[in-house]
């Protein structure tokens, strides 16, 4: 995770040519669990992300404590019991757009993309591949993706008593509105 932070910081440091790097500090990641017993929804609007359009590299980091839930008790259980956010404060993704050449960054429009990379939650890292879209708009880029993850893959231990309340697969939604990283 420390390497990811350093890489992330390096990607966002101002270098000579920045026209290729896009950034957001209020990206959105939400997850949704649906079971007959209970619906659980967590929303994080403080995701920091960088997209390099020259290489297709995409990196983002999220604070676990920034995930907000409707009910305070649910948020407490999420942080203290499942995610142990004092021990593992951040979650991150490091990957790239695999079909970069199919996106025309100079032409406004919506482009289908595939993104592959490493997703780290707690101290577990798994390779994921997901489909999404990049929307080129005037002054920025919007990236959207939906994918599923299984809590067990990330060593999220769910006690048997509540196992039925949490879905086997959580639906994760990512929405990033990037703006160009400018020279300061």
């Amino acid at each position: 995770m420390k390497r990811l932070t350093i890489l992330f910081f390096l990607l966002s440091i101002v270098f000579a040519v920045n026209a290729q790097k896009y950034m957001t500090k209020n990206g959105y990641i939400g997850f949704y669990s649906h079971t007959p017993m209970e619906d659980i929804k967590g929303d994080n609007n403080q995701v920091a992300g960088v997209l390099d359009i020259s290489t297709g590299e995409m990196v983002f980091q999220a604070l676990i404590k920034s995930f907000r839930f409707d009910r305070a008790l649910m948020e407490e259980h999420f942080n203290e019991n499942y995610m142990e956010s004092d021990k593992f404060p951040k979650s991150g993704f490091k990957g790239k757009i695999t079909n970069l050449s199919s996106v025309n960054f100079s032409k406004n429009g919506i482009y289908d993309v595939t993104v592959e990379g490493d997703l780290t939650i707690r101290d577990a890292t798994n390779k994921i591949s997901t489909k999404g879209t990049i929307e080129v708009v005037t002054g920025g880029l919007n990236a959207n993706s939906k994918f599923n993850i299984s809590p067990e893959d990330y060593k999220i231990n769910i006690p048997g008593v509540v196992r039925e309340k949490i879905a086997k697969n959580l639906e994760v939604t990512v929405t990033m509105k990037y703006t160009p990283l400018e020279n300061k």
Partner: protein, 142 residues
Amino acid sequence: MKTYVKIALFFVSFIALSGILAALYMYNLKHTDMAKAEPDFVISALVLQKAFEDDETAASTRYINKILEVTGTIASVKPAENNILSISLVTGSDLSSVICTFPAIADPSKFMNGDQITLRGECSGFLLDVLLNNCAVIEDKK
């Protein structure tokens, strides 16, 4: 029914009911109302950001999960989906600031860059910026 049985039954029912009500209360509890909460620290955005920049570990121990009342100048206002608003405060650093994220707010347009503002929120931690959540604007300090 004998009197003592009635009394015992009453007592048991009362305790059971109290237990159920308490559990329901806890289950449905929403987040702390920041407008009414007592802050753990009253601090300027400049000082707060510098604390994390100088020693992230020490600042994390000191400020994370605490209620911070932060004063500063608005650097930027960013609305997001679902009536979420993020306000960035000016700090000593160009790259790193203090960001407060709000649940639904009445009128985001009343916050202008350059305005002085006092915000109260829970400190979630530090990515590139100090991040606060469940924020409320403290009106009488403006």
